[in-house]
Amino acid sequence: MKLRQLAAVFLVMGFGVMFMTSDLMAKPIEIQFWHAQTGALEESLKKIVNAFNQSQNKYVVIPVAKGSYSETMNAGIAAFRSHNQPHILQVYEVGTQTMMLSRAIYPVYDLMKDTGHHIDWNGYLQPVLSYYEASNGELQSMPFNSSTPIMYYNKDMFKKAGLNDPPKTWEDLGKAAARLVASGVVEYGMTSAWQTWVMIENYSAIQNIPIASEANGFDGLDARLTINNPMLIHHFERLKQWMNDKRFVYEEREYKGPQAAFISGKCAILMDSIGAIGTLKHNAKFDWGAAPLPVEASNKEPQNSIIGGASLWVLKGHPKEDYQGIADFLAFLATEDMQILWHKETGYLPITLKAYEKLKSSGYYQKYPAQEVGILQLTRKAPTVNSRGIRLGSFPQIRDVMNEEIEMLWQGKRTAKQALDDAAGRGNELLRQFEKRSE
């Protein structure tokens, strides 16, 4: 590089620094918001943040994408250990217990109270709040993107097989799947994304049975998994049987394979998060519908399903005036307009009843009935101790263990009972480890 060019570069850099510093002096308080949203979700998140930044001039929220959920959580932890933590950290639902015990957080309930925000918590969707509440009912983190699993079905295939309504019970589902396969309309009956979330966690919540002792872990770190109960064993035996006669096909632990199987017409029924609606809208070249997850025929009053997704945690260690801005931002996030925007663009649940009712009265759900299925399933009954959520340490690993053992069942290397016994045993070992680390 020539000397003159070099000088020019330095000059530009110098101006840049000057601008930046002069800018800083006049700048409002910055609030760092680390999140794990990518693609279209990040765009929607930025819209909300920009709307907040334009609504006032005291604070500026700066959203920073940190990669996947586990990468974001790790980034937050590493930053906290080096005293560089962001103000707000998005953490997936399975990290809830770790965050609650971290001693690094400022509980949202306290934050809102301390900063003079009077929030009517009863106006929120209760199963969403309850997942992030301490056992005394105080909210620990702000629900952000919440989803729940529902059932999608291929209407064209149903018609061809002479079926009308989507099955309501597991029994009916078995019959419908048998008919679909036997009539030659489709190779396989159904599949499921996120099998542990759908077939263990949500199945148990809907049936109102616990997956762990101590009220699913809400009441203490000494919780033990109870997933090897007769009901779940029976449920998995049934699924294994369906697998043998092609009524059920296993695609993978996460969602890509199952969604591909449904979209390509390999199977007629898919159980997946409400977040799949967008993908199906874009890619499914057939008429499809959405329905609640099936329940057991004996279950006349099915419970609410439980949520997945992530919430926003406020971290300790910042100047007091910053927390006013954080609280204002969280309150802004929960306003109807923002919730409606978020729900419409991403398909995630609106977290307040007011936002839901406003959407309903505007006729939105008549136009998009699939969007309402999850909300109705989630709010059909007040949550019980078994359906308000799961509070277990090392939960990401426990899900891995459950997945591994269920895969052993699918491979035929274990019976349903053995698989669930082993999953419970290995999971309990992880829980004891977590308990020991948290001492």
């Binding site: 250990r81 971290s102 891995d400």
Partner: protein, 296 residues
């Protein structure tokens, strides 16, 4: 003979190696020391609570049959990946060395895959072998009546990640083998040819022994590659599944440390991994290197 360099100042040589030394210290010794220290601790991820537990993490690790399984998988995986990529690399290099036309174009094509990141290599192979949308698994395998499902069948999954990992490394091996082959004096091969040795015989009795230093170097590099750098492939293709069938040691370090946030156990596993790879490399130098002929 090596020449002894002479410096005017006693400190100059130290000054010259200082930058490299600093890099190694900050990016290898410092994290390694931290991992070592962490492996004796039991702590929560935020570092608020931690306790010194002596060898608890190691004991707990070796009492876990799944950790032994993971070690077994790692050895099978590394052995097969190394063997496959070395033999394929040697074969292509030996063949490419005999090519007369379009030499450089062919070599470029053979070296190209090395520019592909491991994660992308994994995705490519997944596209080819995926049971739902893979080209190979949908057509040829169904015609041949092979039941193929890497998503459900552990052996299929292991096979898939071995292929993807080995494929990625063939180009690397190819470069070194072809360089090695070219440095073999033509006169030796011509002399053998005059004595009536066929191409195969010439390769085995002349080229191959003279290639042994290259082969040895590549063996060490490939084992290290298989142990550490295949993380991206496993992460994109199987995530250690199904049923833990592709849970190699390095992937378990990641799962337990970054997803499970069990830093103590993850650090202990890193230390074990470090010991294993050091032992393996020493073993290679001590026993295999004896068979290497350094001609010159």
């Amino acid at each position: 003979m090596l020449k002894r360099s002479s410096f005017s100042s006693r400190f100059l040589p130290y000054l010259l190696i200082l930058p490299q030394l600093l890099i190694i210290l900050t990016f290898f010794y410092w994290p390694a020391a931290q991992a070592f220290f962490q492996s004796f601790m039991l702590s929560d991820p935020f570092g608020v609570r931690s306790q010194f537990v002596w060898l608890y993490n190691f004991r707990h690790l070796f009492e876990d049959p799944l950790y032994w399984k993971s070690i077994g998988i790692t050895f099978i995986f590394s052995f097969l990946t190394t063997m496959l990529s070395l033999s394929a690399g040697l074969l292509t290099a030996a063949l490419a060395n005999r090519v007369l036309k379009a030499k450089s174009a062919i070599r470029t094509f053979l070296i190209w895959p090395y520019a592909v990141a491991p994660a992308i290599s994994g995705v490519l192979w997944m596209f080819i072998f995926h049971p739902t949308f893979g080209i190979i698994s949908r057509l040829p395998m169904q015609w041949l009546g092979i039941t193929w499902n890497p998503i459900l069948n552990g052996n299929d999954a292991l096979f898939l990640v071995i292929i993807a990992s080995a494929w990625k490394q063939i180009s690397y091996n190819f470069v070194f083998f072809i360089a090695g082959l070219q440095s073999i004096p033509k006169s030796l091969i011509e002399a053998a040819a005059i004595d009536g040795a066929g191409p195969f015989r010439r390769f085995w009795t002349i080229s191959f022994p003279l290639l042994s230093p290259t082969l040895f170097f590549l063996m060490v590099m490939n084992v290290v590659y298989a142990f550490f750098e295949t993380f991206g492939i496993i992460h994109t293709v199987t995530q250690g599944g199904p049923g833990g069938a592709t849970m190699t040691m390095i992937y378990k370090v990641y799962r337990d440390g970054f997803v499970g946030l069990d830093l103590g156990s993850s650090a202990a596993q890193s230390v074990v991994l470090m010991i294993v790879i050091v032992a393996l490399t020493l073993f290679q130098f001590k026993y295999i290197e004896k068979k290497v002929q350094y001609a010159g």
